[in-house]
């Protein structure tokens, strides 16, 4: 087999992230994803261009959007010859897409690709309960009046109660927040630590905005020009007044609306390519996507729903013979402040390293000044499937502009999974 090719990150484009039911109340996944891809098309002059493959997904999705990636690619003005694949691994969706596409570029199957994700809570699919749904299907298949009537046998009005989409874990029945409360208890993460991390995320993100870091990463959409969750003026005092959001009764609750990500609408995309493809078009190479890893843990057995990134990162570093000391920037997706803090604590914990990660020496401490230096999801918000692409785009630009060498990305997902990636500076 021929030698693997390098996977260049050309750049990224995303629409501003908006808290649910605000700026994008009238939009949907297709228009949002189309706009994010349109941002790449504008920025890198891709109108009518045949891209090897677009891979994208949404966690909350209407059945009509079964070909979301393909439809959005056409809306964005890419060549009709550009295939689009829907993928989905909860909050890891667009990072996983980038890894899959990176592999295809590396082996020479394609020369260019777009990894993307979108999510909206404001336009989430609301359906009837199972019982009524089956009646409706039986009704549509019924031929005779008798059969049609039979479809409604035993009907009661309660069946018409619409069911909103749920982000509960099907296996445990707990929400993500409730799971993260358990992680905070298990790893002894205090409310104060969580609030401090959230504050820093907002401050870092606000500074990045003021410095104009996002000016060429964020494209206006539907009259929204910037993320509306970033709060430059928040404070520990304000955060301290918030009540627990998930554990309202036990008195132990530490997760609040301030140290958890809000429900968010948004879409993000990253353009990947072989070096030759980028060079031939005079496009930049900001960084290389060099490694990836997806992992899962026994969350149903009690390992902590959002702890799988510890494994993904550990495995990835093992494969590359790197240690934390070799990493200049850490992009650890902040689903909850407690999730980040528990992860960091686990990497320092000798028992956890030995038992769960199979390491005799703990991965160890990370310099806090290397973590989420431009803020993360607590500040920007977290449209589930879009977050990976947001982070990857931000990371590539950070490396290109900062002179740092190597960045590590870690994203936790529902279902006890985690996706990690390594990004290295170009030249």
């Amino acid at each position: 087999m021929a030698e693997l090719r390098k996977v260049a990150i050309v750049g990224s484009a995303r629409i501003p992230f908006a808290r649910a039911y605000t700026g994008y109340a009238e939009e949907g996944n297709l228009t949002m994803l189309g706009a994010a891809l349109g941002g790449l098309v504008e920025k890198y002059n891709l109108r009518g261009e045949h891209i090897g493959e677009v891979m994208a997904g949404a966690v909350l999705s209407h059945s009509r959007d079964f070909n979301l990636a393909r439809e959005a690619s056409l809306d964005a003005g890419l060549s009709p010859r550009t295939p689009g694949t829907n993928v989905q691994i909860a909050c890891g969706t667009s990072l996983q897409a980038a890894l899959a596409l990176g592999a295809k570029i590396a082996i020479g199957e394609i020369d260019s690709a777009i990894a993307a994700g979108t999510d909206t809570v404001s336009d989430s699919p609301v359906v009837f309960g199972d019982k009524f749904q089956h009646r409706a299907i039986n009704l549509s298949r019924a031929r005779t009046t008798g059969e049609k009537l039979k479809a409604f046998k035993g009907f009661n009005l309660g069946e018409l109660t619409p069911v909103a989409p749920s982000t509960q874990e099907p296996r445990t029945g707990l929400s993500m927040g409730q799971h993260c409360e358990l992680m905070a208890r298990q790893w002894d993460i205090s409310r104060e630590e969580q609030d401090a991390l959230a504050l820093r995320s907002h401050q870092n993100a606000a500074r990045a905005y003021d410095e104009g870091f996002h000016d060429d990463l964020v494209v206006p959409f539907a009259g929204v020009l910037k993320d509306n969750n970033v709060r430059a003026d928040t404070s520990l005092e304000k955060m301290a007044t918030m009540k627990p959001a998930f554990d309202k009764q036990s008195g132990h609750g530490t997760l609040t609306a301030a140290n958890s990500t809000p429900l968010t609408d948004g879409a993000a995309s990253v353009l990947l390519a072989s070096e030759d493809w980028a060079r031939a078009r005079g496009l930049p190479v900001l960084a290389y996507l060099t490694l990836g890893q997806v992992a899962a843990n026994d969350f149903a057995g009690g390992e902590g729903l959002l702890m799988a990134p510890t494994i993904a990162v550990s495995e990835m570093l093992r494969r590359s013979n790197l240690t934390f000391a070799d990493i200049d920037l850490f992009e650890i997706h902040e689903a909850f402040a407690a999730q980040v803090l528990a992860t960091l604590k686990a990497w320092r914990d000798p028992d956890y390293n030995r038992v769960t990660l199979g390491r005799d020496t703990p991965l160890g401490e990370i310099d806090p000044d290397r973590i989420n230096v431009r803020g993360s999801s607590l500040a920007y918000g977290h449209p589930f499937a879009a977050t990976g692409a947001r982070i990857l785009g931000l990371t590539a630009k950070s490396l290109a502009t900062s002179g740092k060498q190597r960045a590590l990305i870690s994203v936790c997902t529902a279902g006890g999974m985690g996706v990690a990636a390594l990004v290295e500076r170009a030249a």
């Binding site: 994008y24 109340a25 003021d210 104009g212 000016d215 206006p220 009259g223 929204v224 020009l225 509306n228």
Partner: protein
């Protein structure tokens, strides 16, 4: 693309149309007028279409053609209308009559085709383009932000002349159809669908052809307006409706200035219950309108305004404007900031403290509520406008607009700082109306960066922005300023830095002249009525009250016309009776309206009005002679947009040339 069949009938050659017949028997007719950014229906294009329709008729009767789909090959849209550049050549009534008869005959033949004809519409579908679409049997349109349907003819002093008056009434019913023809208002896809001008909406352009194919195969035919709508044109109701329309139009346009809407209403009154008769009656009324001075002048104004849109920077250097930093949250600064935010810019509005910014934000919110449709749109606009006490928006701004008090030192200080803190490509602009641009610019390291962007109050209503050029500016600086004005939907006119620029300079002698007459005993109501009778949108005394007597006085002084201290004008100012904003000026103001007394009779009001505007016309001529504006054309469009000067007269310079002012 479907596999092509070779039709047995010979298609005539065409520059604007391509045709292919597919294996299902569908004929795909695409209009793409060469060397033009938009499709228009010139005589040549219509002649080509006539030849094609002959071929289609043969193919339809031979059975090889199952239906026709008419699409546009241009991104800009379907068809923007008839080719207005040809209108002047049609001044001979005989030539025009023949051209109209040919177009009517052609559209009737399309309608009479034995197979379904479906129009697939995206982007602009206006005037003659909409008339052609209405002659098709079914219409599909893209439901996006860019789709616009309408009849803008009335703005050119005419009305639809290719059968659109009758066909639009047939499809949309008399009230809606007349409303869009009388106002020239352009409709988006959804309202057009609700009105019945369009039968089906699709999400994207790709889908047009597929929905159109379905329509052909199912032989769908658009249904005419239901009886509940048509009843408004029946029997005595029609006369009543026509009178309501006359009253409505009368509020905006006088029949002696703008005959077209009145002529259309008469046509409706005659034939509104019979769309065919209405269609037949079009030409007879259309021909004199087309030959009227009003229409000639309005056509010229249209071309001049199109010319303004061609200013700015094109091609790959076309600047992108996203962030505007406005310094000074007073009436002008605040309203400029609000306007920019309304038009999609991210705006930071700077002033010394929140108390000064707050009223501007409140006014902005009121503007957004008035102009935007949904709560989300309003909230997003509110989010685009940020108060900025510390001036942090300066560093990332693409455009900086200063609108603080008229104080040279303060302005110099602001731009000295702005020059340091902004990125090099950012536009630096002042909204000053009385300080010479050169004096603000001269201390800058790069004085050529500073331009003037002179907005007019009320910003949301007046389309003109004077782009002020100092002797330091290069063409590129001015072009970028014009590009920005266009980006926020304003019409830029480049004016040399000179006292009063263009608009204030020509307005002031006219207003002061009228004030002097009133001081000498003339009746102010009569003065104002005379100006309106001449064709001004508002009389000069009412205008002075609206602008504010204090503002009028300071502009007058700057132009070397000090107000006599013993005048009524000076006394009103001394008593803080400053006009509309204080509730009392020359007039008493109640609920934003001047309380006016009876107008004393006058044998020739319009003649008096013409006398009143003499100073304005004279001043315009001097401004052109001194090179304040580059040409008569720019002076005319600038004064029309800046003062509302009678568009049907074509502006002050044209009116003087025609001996009408």
């Amino acid at each position: 693309m479907a596999q092509m069949q070779t039709p047995n009938v010979q298609m005539p050659p065409s520059r604007a149309f391509t045709f292919h017949l597919d294996f299902e028997g569908l004929g795909w007719l695409t209009i793409d007028v060469p060397d033009a950014p938009v499709n228009t229906l010139s005589r040549e294009t219509l002649a080509e279409l006539a030849g094609i329709v002959t071929a289609l008729e043969e193919m339809a009767s031979s059975g090889e053609l199952k239906g026709v789909v008419l699409l546009s090959g241009k991104d800009s849209g379907f068809i923007a209308g008839a080719d207005i550049t040809e209108f002047d050549e049609m001044s001979d009534p005989g030539v025009l009559r023949a051209a109209l008869d040919r177009a009517h005959g052609l559209f009737d033949r399309i309608e009479a085709l034995k197979v379904p004809v479906v129009a697939g519409i995206h982007g602009f579908c206006l005037g003659g383009g909409l008339e052609l679409a209405l002659a098709c049997h079914y219409r599909v349109a893209v439901n996006d932000d860019r789709t616009r349907l309408g009849f803008p003819e009335v703005n050119l002093g005419i009305f639809p002349g290719f059968g659109g008056s009758g066909r639009s009434i047939r499809q949309a019913g008399p009230v809606d159809a007349m409303q869009i023809m009388l106002t020239g208002k352009l409709l988006r896809a959804s309202p057009a669908r609700r009105m019945g001008l369009v039968d089906k909406l699709v999400r994207v352009r790709d889908t047009l052809r597929w929905e159109a194919r379905k329509a052909v195969l199912q032989a769908r035919k658009s249904s005419p307006a239901p009886f509940t709508k048509r009843v408004m044109a029946l029997g005595p109701v029609r006369g009543y409706v026509a009178n309501k329309m006359r009253a409505e139009v009368g509020r905006k346009a006088k029949p002696e200035h703008y005959p077209a809407p009145y002529s259309l209403i008469e046509l409706f009154e005659q034939h509104g219950d019979d769309w065919r008769a209405m269609k037949r009656g079009e030409a007879e009324r259309f021909i004199p309108l087309m030959n009227s001075n009003t229409s000639k002048n309005l056509r010229r104004v249209f071309f001049l305004s199109e010319g303004l849109k061609k200013q700015g920077v094109r091609g790959k250097d076309k600047p992108v404007f996203r962030r505007v930093h406005v310094i000074g949250a007073g009436v002008m600064g605040g309203d400029i900031a609000a306007w920019c935010a309304l038009r999609g810019m991210g705006v930071t509005l700077q002033d010394l403290d929140m108390e000064r910014i707050k009223p501007a934000l409140d006014r902005a919110k009121a503007l957004f509520r008035k102009r935007l449709r949904s709560k989300t749109e309003i909230d997003n606009a509110v989010a685009r406008l940020e108060a900025d006490v510390t001036g942090k928006g300066l560093a990332r701004a693409d455009v900086v607009i200063e609108a603080v008090v008229e104080n040279l030192e303060i302005k110099r200080k602001i731009f000295a700082e702005a020059e340091l803190k902004t990125r090099p490509g950012a536009i630096l602009a002042t909204n000053t109306s009385s300080i010479e641009l050169e004096r603000i610019a001269e201390n800058l390291t790069a004085p050529g960066r500073l331009i003037g962007l002179h907005f007019f109050n009320p910003v949301a209503q007046l389309p003109l922005v004077e782009v002020i050029r100092s002797r330091f500016n290069a063409d590129a600086d001015i072009a970028r300023g014009a590009a920005f004005a266009l980006a926020i939907g304003k019409s830029p006119v480049v004016v040399k830095s000179a006292p009063g620029f263009l608009v204030n300079r020509v307005l002031m002698p006219y207003m002061l002249g009228a004030v002097q007459r009133v001081e000498a005993g003339a009746n102010k109501e009569q003065i104002d009525a005379a100006a309106v009778a001449f064709g001004m949108p508002m009389g000069p005394i009412e205008l002075m009250d609206t602008v504010g007597l204090d503002v009028g006085k300071s502009v007058a002084e700057e132009l070397g016309n000090p107000v006599a201290p013993d005048s009524q004008f000076a006394r009103l100012i001394a008593d803080r009776k400053l006009g509309r904003k204080t509730g009392q000026g020359f007039y008493t103001w109640s609920n934003g309206k001047a309380v006016k007394g009876e107008v004393p009779p006058h044998p020739d009001l319009a003649g008096l009005g013409r006398e009143l505007v003499q100073p304005l016309v004279n001043a315009t001529a001097v401004a052109v002679a001194e090179g304040v504006v580059a040409s008569d054309d720019l002076a005319d469009i600038g004064v029309i947009y800046g003062t509302g000067f009678a568009p049907f007269l074509g502006g002050p310079m044209q009116a003087r040339k025609d001996g009408r002012a």
